[in-house]
């Protein structure tokens, strides 16, 4: 197929208005990366279009926050290193410490844990540096991989602290905590 270069301004809006463009008529053979950008496609010009099989959607590194309830405005995945402490005493140390997150819009899923040398902790274990600030109070569950006992996890709005302990308000000794929670941010 012979490719023809259309000069800037070569096709005006009026020239293509109401023109049917058949399926597959525009594909990767015709457009290079970056050739369609915000300067070329105005808001509302793509409305009820069906989007076929995508390979990737890339969001801007800096979120452009939307107040529209139907708009997905952010996606991010990454890691962090949780900082552990304890209530009712102090930890001796931690090992195998890990933290991963995925943020979709205003919802963040956190996976984190550590093998904890519980020291004198008696009322809860705590991380103090969740990667995002909670917008609401919340709760979830965790598990102690050593005993397979379920623990509760909870947090308060406005902070980056997540607490973990047993349902009776005490802690298990030297747990291997594995936490998976969903937080509104």
């Amino acid at each position: 197929m012979t490719k023809t270069t259309i000069p800037t301004g070569g096709i005006t809006a009026d020239a293509v208005n109401a023109t049917l463009i058949a399926d597959d008529a525009i594909n990767s053979e015709h457009y290079t990366d970056g050739s369609i950008d915000t300067a070329h496609v105005a808001d509302s010009q793509i409305t009820t279009a069906k989007i076929g099989t995508l390979t990737q959607i890339v969001f801007n590194a800096t979120q452009s926050a939307s107040a529209n309830a139907n708009t997905l405005d952010d996606y991010e995945e990454g890691t962090w290193t949780p900082s552990w402490s304890a209530g009712g005493g102090s930890l001796t140390g931690t090992s195998s410490n890990y933290g991963k997150y995925t943020k979709t819009g205003d919802t963040v899923k956190l996976w984190f844990g550590a093998v904890i040398d519980s020291g004198t902790a008696s009322s809860y274990y705590r991380i103090t540096n969740a990667p995002f600030t909670a917008a609401t109070n919340g709760s979830g569950t965790a598990i102690n991989g050593e005993t397979a006992n379920i623990q509760k996890a909870w947090w308060d709005s406005g902070g980056t602290t997540v607490n973990i302990n047993r349902y009776d308000g005490t802690v298990e000794s030297d747990p291997n905590l594995k936490v998976h929670i969903t937080m509104k941010v």
């Binding site: 590194a61 991010e76 962090w80 290193t81 103090t128 540096n129 969740a130 995002f132 600030t133 308060d156």
Partner: protein
């Protein structure tokens, strides 16, 4: 072929009533100057944290926004939890 690795601060956000500092870092791998990999790590700092060993950008922001009133307010929140 030269492979390089650098870690940059890609985003610093100050969030909420207690001025929590959220930091996103990108680790970038380049081959002969062309980026071939990028991964994201994060950390957050509450007003009770010692950030003196962090990047100077973070230290400067913390010194600016973490007033004694903010620190006291955060401590009151922790005490109430």
């Amino acid at each position: 072929m030269a492979i390089t690795k650098e870690k940059i601060i890609s985003k610093i956000e100050v969030v909420g009533e207690y001025k929590i500092i959220q930091v996103a870092y990108d680790t970038i791998i380049k081959e002969d100057g062309t980026e071939i990999s990028r991964s994201r790590t994060r950390n957050s700092f509450t007003p009770d944290k010692d950030v003196s060993s962090e990047d100077s950008e973070i230290v400067d922001i913390a010194n600016l926004i973490w007033t004694q009133k903010i620190k006291d307010s955060w401590q009151s929140k922790l005490d109430a939890e």
